[in-house]
Amino acid sequence: MLIDFELNGEEVQVEASGTERLLDILRERFGLTGVKEGCGEGECGACVVLMDEKLVNSCIVPLANVTGHAIITIEGLKKSGKHFESISQAFIEAGAVQCGFCTPGFVMATEALLNENPSPDREKIKEYFSGNLCRCTGYNMIIEAVERASKARLNE
């Protein structure tokens, strides 16, 4: 089937069976390797992207279900010039990046959370990140990064 959707602000069309994982299409057909594959089972959040501004695990979204929706990956977030810099700066300042594999997922989750709730408390942040795993830093620095990103955004 021909599948039309919006990818990082541009209309795209893909000829595919529809059963492909969105993750593979993003990485292999569009070269968007900021989207990472961790568990491949929708548990770790390394592959999260925004679909109509909502966080989804691209490893368990079949391409057919993307038809007509708008996808934003971390590359698209950077390109949009909106919040990427402030979130990235907050992660650097808080020391929230070690190996970095989970980071694009956490950055996308931060973007989705702050769009929904500009000043979340720690409990809200933890609850929101229940689908993102980090095996290096522990989560305290990441939570601090979100708090910093929240303050930076409120001061923008």
Partner: protein, 285 residues
Amino acid sequence: MNSKAFRPASLKAALEYLAKNECLIFSGGTDLMVQYARGTGLAPTFPRPPLFLAQIPELRQIEVSAKSIVIGAAVTLSELLSHPDIPLIFKDIISQMASLPSRNTATIGGNICNASPAGDTLPYLIANDASIRLQSLSNERVVLLSDFFTAAKETILKKDEVLTKITIPRTNFNHHYYQKIGQRKGMSLTKASMLGLALIENGKVKELRIAFGAVAPLIVRDLAIEKQYLGLRNDKLLDYEEEICRQYSPLIKPIDDARSTAAYRKAVSLRMLRDFIKQLSKAQE
């Protein structure tokens, strides 16, 4: 495999296709994409061509009336959480399911048709006497959700039928109890769960519903046991604690698996039941 994956625009088109083709009915995909995954770079291989239903407008509605809440099968868990008329106890249950990214695509119809005894929406729906509408091109039937399941992972859904709507009658309860036992708070599958609902009026039990999840091939609910305690003063319920536990005990028939043991599941289920009875016996209106 002679038919292809199909993504119809309407329910009618879906039912027409299903009348002629054997399909794997596909909604959000959070279970199916994992179950049939083949790994990096490969599309999952499904036993039958998928019929994608998540986009069908007729399955995406929530209709609220004085008597009931009718939920389309392809409504996502996140949409239920943000809807003003979904009861708070149901939202509490849903908010403990999976993680936010999964809830954004997982659907209520998928949770039902996956037919796992650990499906977390099921104890609530069954305790509330929810019914479901099953539609095919030539027929449609409404069945109680409790009659839908025949064994773990098995249902009465026919090859040409689609679950289209879930109807939850609006019953007044003023006491709610829910515990989900899992390995961690987020992103965990249920080892055992218990839901208790009650209406206490003038110090008496007017409504009582008890359901257990993940501790038998089907959700455990027993109407005859519930009925015995209607009309009783709620502060007297504690006198019946042992009797109630004795009655539910043989119905709780858990298994050992990767997530827990039968012994633990049984013990914790009865402990939740005692906890609910204690809370109910102390409850003010």
